[in-house]
Symmetry: C2
Subunit: 337 residues, 2 copies
């Protein structure tokens, strides 16, 4: 899709045979690059008249924010977007949204968009874990990581404390008398999935409960049907779980329906705790005990931080961790068994 | 948010005291404008060095499609977006999405975006009914209306036959023995809402059933809580309905939960038919009888039509009406009472 003759890092990589990551290290003046490699890269850059600071077309007068969202099947993302839009509207910015799905994890992907459109800054709801990519992008225009984040120098983020939230939710199930607690988790490439699994295992360990591989599902996307199948599977094995901690209300809702299909009573036979507190959590029968995320606030604060940095590029980066809350409904027992 | 000195139609309107609509008529060489008004507008355009064909910055080499979506709270929109992305990806276009909410109904709104970004074409999932606005936009870059449409010369659309679909769904309820059928509809500013109401009233009329104002709700957005309240309200009145036809599965799901709150049995005491066949329609207890829209196909075909017109600006516009299907589940009786 390249339209012009602008030289990119990838061109330098092709020409020199040096990886994009190493070139990025050279550009970031890191000391871990061998001297002859560094020289080769700098020579190629000079020969091609490549200006590192111009690789990404950004425009500080642009009033458009680029928002990368993995997809729209998770209602949680819709709430985050609402929060971002509220702040953008108030500050007279507009937001253009890119659905990233499994893409937008490499510099190439972003270069293509940023070469063709001018943005004042980027909000990433998409899970990008490549610190070098993040820093490279952040050198061209301010970035804020929203909900999913990794701790990278100079990049702001707004999120929650996933470990503590998952720990508390699991503890609550334990306090209700559940002893065989299964986890409906996302793929572990997501930071939130790793952190919630950590909170869950820590709580179970502290209580001296079994942590079993076969009671942990890692589901590739926030997909109801997949979660339904995983739950049925676990419930159909000998010695099934007596509770599910789900990292999404979509998963929790699937667990409730799968359990009902097997004629289990909720919460008498099986307790279920979800995560997010999206509308769906009140639409099931019984409604779902869940960890409420301040979704709209997470979006709003992300956009506020971004605009602060757009207006003052020298502003220091900030990491905001917002509070979560366990909302107890009828999918869990309200007292010890 | 204006950043440059580009002259817009609005500037011409201000200067001449002539409405934007009339100026647009002058630009479209329509004969309904008084001669002295026409002269005043043309003089102002010349004085300001205004080039009508350059009011909107579009770029035929752009590989980006602008998609306007009202919001992300309706899962139906997510399916449409998936279809659009599939076609765009196959054709090597990218899609940037604008959440329009209640805005993006005037030329000003679009000018702001199109002045600052270059797009190859626009897909409107947002309900725009101003034919002049549509034609003005369409002169600058191809437009396809997706799902919501109005029949405007030279503008392609992909949608369904809402009248027939609603007629069939209502007929089905009648065939199940329901005699007091209520309608959970959207705001009538949406074309689909007007058409589905037409199909519903025609079916009831043909069957000689009562059409009562108090059994018709016009709900401002696809919002579960609002639909829940409307349903409770109708069911609490004397002589309540014995069935609901809902123009969205979100509304149908709310109706089922409201009815259950009142200890009504579904479908024995109350039948419910929804619309769209989104994932939610299988998550309720009982699952919802619904009109399936080929959502992903609607999105996919919209994008295909758009790209056809981008590649060949002289291609004739097309209107595609895709088939719907009634999917019978357990929220309706399967036989006559």
């Amino acid at each position: 899709m390249k339209k012009d003759a602008r030289i990119t890092i990838k061109d330098i990589a092709k020409l020199t045979g040096v990886s994009v990551a190493t070139i990025s290290r050279v550009m970031n003046h890191k000391r871990v690059v061998k001297e002859d490699t560094r020289k080769k890269v700098l020579d190629a850059m000079e020969r091609l008249n490549f200006n590192p600071s111009s690789i990404l077309l950004t425009n500080h007068t642009s009033k458009t924010i680029l928002l990368c969202v993995p997809d729209f099947s998770n209602p949680f993302n819709g709430l985050i977007i609402d929060g971002i839009q509220q702040s953008a509207y108030k500050n007279q910015y507009r937001v253009l949204i890119l659905q990233s799905k499994e893409n937008y994890l490499t510099l190439d992907d972003y270069e293509e968009v940023l070469k063709n459109h001018s943005f004042a800054g980027i909000i990433l709801l998409t899970s990008v874990t490549d610190a070098e990519l993040l820093q490279l992008l952040n050198r061209s225009c301010p970035i804020v990581m929203c909900s999913e984040y990794c701790d990278v120098k100079d990049i702001s983020f707004v999120s929650i404390d996933d470990i503590t939230a998952a720990h508390r939710a699991s503890e609550y199930l334990i306090s209700c008398g559940c002893k065989k607690i299964a986890l409906l988790n996302s793929d572990l490439r997501h930071g939130y999935a790793r952190h919630r699994e950590q909170g869950y295992t820590e709580a179970l360990k502290t209580a001296g409960l079994d942590i079993r591989e076969e009671w942990m599902a890692h589901i590739s996307s926030i997909n109801y049907d997949l979660a339904f199948s995983y739950t049925l599977n676990m419930l159909n094995r000998p010695d099934p779980p007596d509770a599910f901690f789900a990292v999404s209300d979509v998963f929790a809702s699937a667990a409730i329906h799968a359990a009902k299909k097997m004629k289990l009573r909720i919460p008498e036979d099986l307790s279920v705790v979800g995560f997010d507190n999206i509308g769906l959590s009140c639409m099931t029968d019984p409604p779902i005990t869940t960890v409420e995320q301040p979704s709209v606030q997470i979006g709003y604060q992300s956009c506020e931080l971004l605009i602060e940095r757009i207006r003052n590029p020298k502003a220091v980066s900030k990491g905001l961790i917002l509070d979560t809350q366990l909302i107890v409904r009828d999918s869990t027992l309200r007292f010890s068994k």
